[in-house]
């Protein structure tokens, strides 16, 4: 009975919180709402140390913070959220730590694709971004299942960068473009005398400058599934991109609150969006004219 009462009490507080957020978000919606927010979730391990928790506990509390941020973002009307879950560089950490993060990732991915998860609540399609071949088989399978299960969701998008670095993403796009162009050249050769011959002769003469262009590269970037982010939030006061969305962050507003990731809250997101709105018209003008 007490438990019920407690649960009822916390339910009232939760509903009140949701109501207050809705009020704030409707005021915020008078201005431009970011279409895409990206997060570098920095500080889970430092949080565990600070709170004298065991090492993996930081990531678990971090996951709860992530769920809150996703909820707030989608409630606000942000369509795309991207998170930096695991970098290719992170594979260099101690094997037992990598294993523990992978185990947690598998568990949480499976939790995410449950019927009652936040993904179904907000109609979120999930993309796993990066060189997925580097993941252990169970995590890769769970990731592929999550992408399959949510493939028909169309209201919002969550891109989870795992086994990702920006330079790897760009190199992968260059390789893909090369392969495509190489196939094209071989087809031209095979067809011989058709209208493509002039183009082929151009290549043969060494006019390889036009082999690959910007559109080819951008089409083959893993992150082609989303527009460029409007806001990139990195916690723990770090003002570095750590090889995350470098190509996509050309004109993005970077925000670095000093809190560790598990400590991030509603007010940090609100502050980021307010700053984004303050700069929005100036940024738009810059993008178009300068």
């Amino acid at each position: 009975m007490e438990k019920r009462g407690g649960s009822g009490g916390s339910q009232i507080f939760e509903n009140l919180g949701t109501f207050l957020r809705k009020c704030i978000f409707s005021v915020l919606s008078v201005g431009p709402i970011p279409n895409h927010i990206a997060f570098i979730m920095d500080g889970n391990r430092r949080f565990a140390k600070k709170q004298n928790l065991i090492e993996g506990a930081g990531h678990k509390v971090g996951y709860l913070a992530l769920m809150s941020m996703l909820r707030y973002s989608y409630e606000l009307g942000v369509k795309y959220v991207t998170i930096y879950a695991f970098s290719i560089e992170n594979f260099k950490r101690r094997p037992e730590e990598v294993q523990s993060v992978m185990d947690l990732m598998q568990e949480k991915i499976e939790q995410l694709i449950n019927e009652e998860s936040i993904l179904n609540h907000f109609g979120v399609r999930v993309h796993f971004i990066g060189n997925l071949k580097l993941l252990s088989a169970p995590v890769r399978l769970a990731a592929e299942r999550a992408m399959l299960v949510t493939a028909c969701n169309s209201k919002a998008v969550l891109s989870i960068c795992v086994a990702y670095t920006s330079t790897n993403e760009i190199m992968h796009a260059v390789e893909e473009s090369c392969v495509k162009k190489w196939d094209e050249i071989r087809e031209l050769k095979a067809s011989g005398v058709d209208c493509g011959l002039t183009k082929l002769e151009g290549y043969e003469k060494g006019e390889a400058q036009d082999l690959i262009n910007l559109t080819d590269i951008e089409k083959h970037l893993y992150m082609a599934v989303a527009p460029d982010p409007d806001i990139l939030i990195r916690t723990s006061g770090e003002t570095r991109l750590s090889n995350f969305l470098l190509w996509q962050s050309q004109y993005c507003y970077l925000y670095s609150p000093s809190v560790l990731w598990p400590e991030i809250g509603f007010w940090h997101l609100l502050w980021a969006v307010l700053n984004f709105q303050r700069n929005h018209f100036y940024l738009e003008k810059k993008k178009k004219q300068l």
Copy 2:
């Protein structure tokens, strides 16, 4: 006589300033000194507006601020300084504004290669970085002359990004790598039966994944003349990279003082270096292990 007295007075102040800086720099040198500092010189036009100056005057005051920053950086022992002088996007500004910046650039480049300039004082080699073909002929010629004249300086390096964007730099590197690889393939074909045939057959079979690799790209980046920056300072409180050194800023400390570029001073540089030092060991560990 008065003039002489005034000049003598200001000379004393200047010497005192230099002496104080030297004292502070020798204390600072106990910690790690950044090898490379990059600047996005933002806020010249806003400074002109704020001070009710004519439009071009902001850039002129900005040039003086740049000279101070170069002096402080080289005095501190920073070997590489890179500045974002003019973006490819900037060509979209009003023609008369572009022309006025180009004129100023030409004038200042010629001033820089004077015998008594800061470049010769600190033994600075100059590189102009970007698609120089986009510059007007007089500016391009002045830039080429500056590179030639300072080619034998070896104590420090100044990279001036003009007609530059990071995505253009990466695309240019991809093109160059393609051209090189294409030439290599044609040579293999011409030589026929030598040991390269296996490699050629690999290409013919469509194994184009290995056509271009990370080293190829990095070798052909315009900024291959300098290591990655340790600190990137962008004035006027903006926390965006605006398509500047995206590839190179993977682990760089980003600092955004709220002052406009012409207002930047010694203390801002000092603060940036102190923050860099505070994070240095943590960053080094991250770079190597995480």
